[in-house]
Symmetry: C2
Subunit: 207 residues, 2 copies
Amino acid sequence: VVGLVERTTKDRRDEQRERLVDCAERLIGTQGLQAVRARELAKQMGCAVGAIYNLVGDLDELVLLVAQRTQRDLSTYLDATAGAMVGDIGAEILLVAWAETYLRFARENRLRWRALFEFRLPAGIALPGWFEQDQETIFARLEDRLLPLTRDQTVAARKLKARMLFAAVHGIVALSLEEKIVAMPVDAVAGELAAFVRAYLRGLTSV
Amino acid sequence: VVGLVERTTKDRRDEQRERLVDCAERLIGTQGLQAVRARELAKQMGCAVGAIYNLVGDLDELVLLVAQRTQRDLSTYLDATAGAMVGDIGAEILLVAWAETYLRFARENRLRWRALFEFRLPAGIALPGWFEQDQETIFARLEDRLLPLTRDQTVAARKLKARMLFAAVHGIVALSLEEKIVAMPVDAVAGELAAFVRAYLRGLTSV
């Protein structure tokens, strides 16, 4: 009986925690990262501010839990793109399609996507392992597809290339989507993104 | 005599305005963009808060004046890199060296560089012409060097390619330098940046 009660309490806590992450996700998705405040969360949850900290260690952990969902949604987009392709497609075609999928993901999930890159952990605090593992699975896709295009011998070299290609595409998407002071028109970029990635990949194999 | 007095007043105002930009530049360079506040500026200038707004229209204009200086400093770095190269060097060598210069500039001027991309104008507000013109001159360098490597017929297509290459390098530099949740080790990136740009440029000419 004690075991049962304990399980029920744990289940209820997990459920509350999910509701809290839902809440934070909605705030980020509609108002942005800076809207995640303990007082606002408590109001929406109908609980005391202190109760928030029984569910998560701090607001940084909560933001990372939302970021984890955003990353998983991005994975879903990438998988859907790969799944929609018929037959044995080459690495170049898929990588180019993924770059365009990334732009679409950022456009369709603007504020949640932006939060992934606006968020900064306090100095000296490392990412939790569960979060990094999720990121690894996203990059692993890229690594697998880049592999036949490179002559890199080491896993570290392939990992770095995959992350740099991601960062390059991200930079193009970010500077074109965000109204920053270094601006590029997003529609023009959308039409040219495939050519950019293709040029890089061809250069990779030709060097 | 009236003309003389007027000129002196204008000179004094210009001088005060320069001091104000110095002040904001120091705040951004040591504490970041969010440190630029009217009250703090007034304190450092030894004037009333209202007097700040006699010198600049608003704090956004002030931040853009600092950003203009940051952009000009970046131009100085790029020119120094080009100037240090002897003889008739090819476009590839210079573009690769510029990418590495950009990484160095970001590392050496971290907070001022970051402010260029953190700053966002209010929705619907366009960049002032004088600021955009300065940006044009930076990108014009890239366009000139990319030109022999592309078969683009139109100026618009070349401009877009130059900005996308900049954005790609910026994305790599930003995700590696900033402690963001998508991270890449900066020293590894520094060693691989040249290869990335080279691959892209070779792909450009081979397509």
